[in-house]
Amino acid sequence: NAGVTQTPKFRILKIGQSMTLQCAQDMNHNYMYWYRQDPGMGLKLIYYSVGAGITDKGEVPNGYNVSRSTTEDFPLRLELAAPSQTSVYFCASRPLGQGFGEQYFGPGTRLTVT
């Protein structure tokens, strides 16, 4: 298993540009999550999904959108990039029931908006 994969690893965007951060998992996990990690701030939940076709907002959803058309994929969309979205983005997943709360993380995407 590849686990949780994320692309790209690094990206620089200009203000106002849009992009999609890709996340995929091959473990057949029901739950998937998007976090952003800012220095000294820990991880903040952006969006999450409990299964294909179902998504919900986390703590900091503004400026982002997600979709979950399949169990495997959970892309995160930035429509109008702003400097405040400069961060490291982590995708995570977990199976239904087992290890309630225990999540598996991807390697992250480092995004800079200038």
Partner: protein, 113 residues
Amino acid sequence: AQSVSQHNHHVILSEAASLELGCNYSYGGTVNLFWYVQYPGQHLQLLLKYFSGDPLVKGIKGFEAEFIKSKFSFNLRKPSVQWSDTAEYFCAAHTDNTDKLIFGTGTRLQVFP
């Protein structure tokens, strides 16, 4: 609202020193607790977890943590740190009324040889 607090933001130790990182959570119900570690340039990995039972849990690489319900704490310990333990450590809680993990702000540990 539920929250997780890590009061040690940056800890510097010499090799072989003992380590204790504090973690407190605020929630009165059932809680599952986790410590994750993030080595430089890598993603988060699970270090150890507590769901129920013995409040002293052992994880990978010689780490352990003790759940003290009366103190709402889940401190991470290691008797003798190594240079390779240099990393950022995150405490996290999962409560019985949510699908989400709540993370603390992290503690950066630097171990010097």
